[in-house]
């Protein structure tokens, strides 16, 4: 019965399996599916309010902290600095690294500073694809920009991706790195009854059959990344993309006012 799990002999490892505590009947996963599928506390096309502040991490060249609902992500940008590997490149490199805190999700992750698992890495690739078209890499030859994201609380994996993209773009602007425009991101999910709900939480994602994340630069009207998982018809996908794009201009105003506030406070 005992599994010998010697991840790290020098530390006290937590139990292999961990489950979130159950407080009352309402938190049982089965109970929410019995109620009719209706979004509580906001309309399907509303997103959760965003709190964004830059410049909180003084050691980094640029930083941003974002909260949407319960999701909390912090981003730090270092660079441009000399690229670690020795190959010469005319353009700079943008490295994105994501790390989930062990207490971020419902299930505890084994804390290992250097190992990134699949979830960390796929989110990093997504955020990289979303922001790299906006950064003027040709101005930083031989240099690299390192973006480090830490997810403090995860309430909806899509919202971590969108919050991470917004935080990364705001942190790059805070670091004084030249960009073509600010990148903002919005996620939507197609529920089992065909409705499109924007900015889904973990609980709402349990009833969805597909999710779509869209990243764009509203200032230029260009889309940088679309990523979709699950089963959708093309019409639903296009509807979802349109809904996300509309919301993105609202999010852009939030980011703009946060950067304004920080710059005038300088």
């Amino acid at each position: 019965m005992a599994q010998i799990t010697s991840f790290d002999r020098r530390r006290v490892n937590g139990p292999d399996d961990s489950f979130p505590p159950i407080f009352s009947d309402e938190d049982q996963p089965g109970s929410s599916s019995s109620s009719p599928l209706q979004r509580e506390s906001r309309k399907p096309k509303d997103i959760r309010p965003i709190f964004l502040q830059t410049g909180l991490i003084t050691q980094a060249n640029g930083s941003a902290y974002i909260e949407t609902g319960n999701s909390k992500v912090v981003c730090a940008v270092y660079g441009p600095r000399q690229a670690k590997n020795t190959s010469y490149s005319e353009k700079g490199k943008l490295n994105v690294e994501v790390k989930f805190a062990p207490f971020a999700s419902q299930r505890r992750k084994v804390p290992n500073r250097y190992l990134q698992d699949a979830e960390d890495r796929s989110l990093a690739v997504l955020i990289h694809q979303a922001i790299v078209p906006s950064v003027r890499l040709e101005l930083f030859p031989k240099s690299s920009m390192d973006v480090f994201l830490t997810v403090i609380e995860n309430d909806g994996i899509q919202s971590c991706g969108t919050a991470g993209t917004i935080a990364a773009s705001a942190a790059l602007a805070d670091a004084g790195i030249e960009m073509l425009g600010l990148v903002v991101s919005c996620a939507g999910s197609v529920m089992s009854n065909g409705e499109i709900w924007l900015d889904p939480t973990t609980r709402e994602l349990e009833h969805s059959r597909a999710s779509l994340t869209l990243s764009c630069m509203p200032a230029l009207g260009l889309i940088t990344n679309v990523s979709q998982t699950g089963q959708v018809t093309p019409q639903e996908a296009i509807q979802c993309m349109d809904a996300c794009e509309e919301r993105c201009s609202d999010i852009h105003m939030v980011v703009a006012s946060a950067l304004h506030k920080n710059q005038s406070a300088l």
Binding site: N61, Y78, G79, P80, R81, Q82, T86, S87, Y88, S134, R136, F140, P141, K142, S143, A173, D174, A175, G176, E178, M179, L180, G181, L182, M217, P218, A219, L220, A256, S257, L259, H260, K261, Q263, S264
Partner: protein, 187 residues
């Protein structure tokens, strides 16, 4: 926004005051006929050039004046660790590597240069970036009157004063040591 509307954001179009098209400096770019900002900041005009100034540390570019300290010497080149670029110090631990080749030390008698008589380990050198160099280092030159060693310690351990463009004197022992000195400001 009720705050300062002069602060531009990346992607925001810039309205040029008069009809003549100005030159674009750092922090602005032109796309599809529209000039947009690429940094967060206020627009500033220097002569006929529009720019958004960026007081943040940035990597060396050709024609940047850099300060660095000599970390390695060989008969052919001196390797410096660049710590200040265009007057802005780089963050701790994020320095760039520069190389001063033997024929970039002086403007005259380039082939008769002995690197041991121009630099020593630990000297702080002001140079100008020639080019991006290779994958590991930038190419730096000190071939100008105001470039070269600006601070050096003598063998006895005291800070030396420059006597001429070739020599520095130690105040403790009075001995002269050979360096390629930079001309001090104000002379």
């Amino acid at each position: 926004m009720n705050q300062d509307d002069n602060i531009l954001l990346p992607g925001q179009p810039v309205t040029i005051p008069n009809g003549a098209a100005p030159d674009l400096g750092g922090g602005l770019y032109l796309k599809d006929g529209v000039i947009r900002a690429s940094l967060v900041g206020k627009l500033s005009r220097v002569g006929n050039t529009l720019t958004i100034p960026r007081p943040r540390p940035h990597p060396p570019a050709p024609e940047s004046v850099v300060l660095g300290s000599v970390i390695r010497l060989s008969p052919l080149q001196a390797v410096i660790s660049i710590t200040v670029v265009d007057g802005i110090p780089l963050p701790q631990g994020e320095d760039f590597t520069g190389v001063i080749r033997v024929n970039d030390v002086r403007a005259t008698e380039k082939d008769k240069v002995k690197l041991g008589e121009c630099f020593r380990g630990g000297d702080v050198v002001r140079g100008i970036v020639l080019s991006l160099g290779d994958s590991r280092s930038y190419y730096v030159s000190t071939a100008r009157n105001d470039l070269g060693v600006i601070f050096a310690t003598s063998e006895a351990g005291a800070t030396m004063d420059p006597v001429s463009w070739q020599e520095m004197r130690c105040p403790k022992t009075g001995k002269l040591e050979k360096r390629k000195c930079a001309k001090p400001d104000g002379l």
